[in-house]
């Protein structure tokens, strides 16, 4: 391959030691490659370890076995090429929206006088130009996600890792945010690893959809290419015939895993 692979997980295994001394294997032998400029979505039932896999790519978690390579170099410590968008609120509550975005640059040593105008530009491009002085608690959930997106993107990371970033939002806001993400992404096409439990969202956004089996010891059990034309509009693309065929095909595989995952979680609940 001429261009290096942005993220490559090879036979990655992730295990945790539980409180009672047993070892819980979350993910087994995960093999996943994200090319430069590629948008990959990981979908799986709850508790299948998709976020775990993302944390491995971020360097927040160390795999128990296997390797992680970022641009063909083994990952040691935190992944400095990646920007991470968290599922939960991760903004600094004591900073205004503007300061929250500017901090992404200030950390790198950019002088404040230079960082602030650029942060303002980024706030404007996520549609929050008029909200610079607001603190996170004064913003709605969707607005907070926009600030978080600007905070990550202002650093211009080569890789974007997203952990169900729009999970807590209502359905309409999710679609608006999805379109915003595609807009921003199309400007310079970073490599994206996007974790979600929503198959429709995955197909609408991604170039490739990867399916994981129900945990524990979950594996990657499917990999589909989405060849819907870009630029896409999330509202429109869902009406496309190809979208429906792909959805039916992937859902056929995913459904069994969702049922398995559901059965396991109810069994666990009964055992308790």
């Amino acid at each position: 391959m001429s261009t290096p692979t942005a993220v490559a997980l090879e036979d990655a295994k992730v295990a945790f030691r539980l409180g009672d001394g047993r070892v819980y294997t979350a993910v087994e032998k995960a093999h996943l490659a994200v090319a430069q400029g590629e948008f990959v979505a990981i979908v799986g039932p709850t508790g299948c370890g998709k976020s775990t896999l993302l944390n491995v790519a971020a360097g927040l978690l160390k795999p128990a076995a296997g390797s992680v390579r970022i641009f063909d170099r083994p990952l040691a410590g935190l992944n400095r090429d990646a920007g991470y968008l968290f599922q939960a609120d991760a903004l600094f509550p004591w900073k205004t929206a503007l300061d929250n975005v500017a901090i992404g640059l200030e950390v790198k040593g950019t002088p404040r006088a230079e960082a602030l105008p650029r942060a303002q530009q980024w706030l404007t491009s996520v549609g929050l130009g008029a909200f610079a002085g607001r603190y996170p608690h004064m913003l709605s959930g969707g607005q907070r996600k926009r600030v978080a997106l600007a905070q990550v993107l202002i650093r211009d990371p080569k890789i974007l890792l997203m952990d169900e970033p729009f999970g807590p939002l209502d359905a309409q806001t999710r679609q608006v945010m999805g379109n915003l993400l595609l807009d921003l992404w199309s400007a310079d096409r970073k490599a994206v690893l996007f974790v979600t439990h929503d198959l429709e969202e995955a197909i609408a956004l991604a170039d490739r959809v990867v399916i994981m089996s129900a945990g524990p010891s979950s594996r990657i059990i499917g990999d589909w290419r989405v060849s819907l034309p870009r630029p896409r509009d999330i509202f429109e693309v869902r009406l496309d015939k190809e979208f429906h065929e792909l959805h039916r095909e992937i859902w056929g595989v995913l459904k069994d895993e969702v049922m398995k995952g559901y059965a396991q979680s109810t069994q666990a609940a009964e055992a308790v």
Partner: protein, 262 residues
């Protein structure tokens, strides 16, 4: 309820209490005065005592001393609490080693330390400052410790992923979190600084509000005791109002309870 109505009702409570006090301590009910003036004085005497203090200006010296002691106790206690709280929270081993001793000292009623401080530091302001410090320190210490410990995992991970060094995490994450906890206990710790000063004065001193009350009590001047109490209450309410202003300024980023969005 509208604000003026509420205020009127609040004033009414004070008026009723004062009138009852005045009547019961001067007019006999069934041939008996229910509040003997020797023990309860009466509002008129208490009020004239307060006026006399302010008219002659003696009160300012005492207020000044108590205020100085409170401010010093608050400043020193807070500084110590912030530093040690931070240190313990970042060094779990140190915290674990000192844990039983911290609990032991905190369990001790601080008033018993007053005689020791008087012995060590004399009857001047420093023995009162020391007493206030032992009260303020623990409140601030526990809050800062908690604040550093309970930094949200996600916010911390976010800081790391944004490329923050340990020093930057300190400055942008741990520090603001610890300070917000400290400020949320500001009312309590300022209150305790005043308590330390006044109790210290009461137990042995030559000036201050506590001294005034103790002197009045010594000569069975009940009007003087009540007058001292009222001046002290007004003093604490004023300080508390100041704290509220500071708090509003520093904690703008925090959602208030009435803020629906949380």
């Amino acid at each position: 309820m509208s604000r003026p109505t509420l205020f009127a009702l609040q004033v009414l409570v004070a008026v009723v209490c004062i009138v009852l006090w005045q009547v019961l301590s001067t007019v006999p009910v069934f041939g008996k005065i229910l509040l003997p003036p020797f023990f309860f004085s009466n509002p008129f005497d208490v009020f004239s005592q307060i006026v006399k203090w302010f008219a002659s200006g003696v009160i300012w010296k005492h207020l000044g001393i108590t205020l100085t002691e409170s401010i010093l106790a608050f400043a020193i206690g807070s500084l110590g609490g912030v530093l040690i709280g931070f240190w313990f929270a970042r060094q779990p081993l140190v915290a674990a080693v000192f844990d039983p001793y911290v609990k032991m000292v905190n369990a001790l009623p601080r008033v018993v330390l007053a005689p020791i401080f008087a012995l060590w530091l004399g009857l001047g302001i420093w023995s009162k400052v020391a007493l206030g410090v032992t009260l303020v320190f623990f409140i601030v210490f526990f809050n800062v410790y908690q604040g550093v410990k309970e930094v949200s995992r996600t916010v911390l991970d976010n800081g790391r992923m944004l490329g923050m060094s340990e020093r930057q995490l300190m400055q942008h994450v741990y520090w603001p979190s610890a300070l917000s906890w400290m400020f949320s206990s500001l009312h309590t710790s300022v209150g305790f600084a005043v308590v330390g000063a006044v109790v210290g004065e009461y137990l042995g001193s030559a000036a201050g509000l506590g001294y005034l009350i103790q002197q009045a009590e010594g000569v069975f001047d009940v009007a003087g005791v009540f007058a001292g109490m009222f001046v002290l209450s007004a003093f604490v309410i004023l300080i508390d109002f100041g704290v509220t202003l500071v708090e509003r300024r520093l904690l703008v980023w925090r959602p208030t309870a009435s803020d629906g969005r949380g």
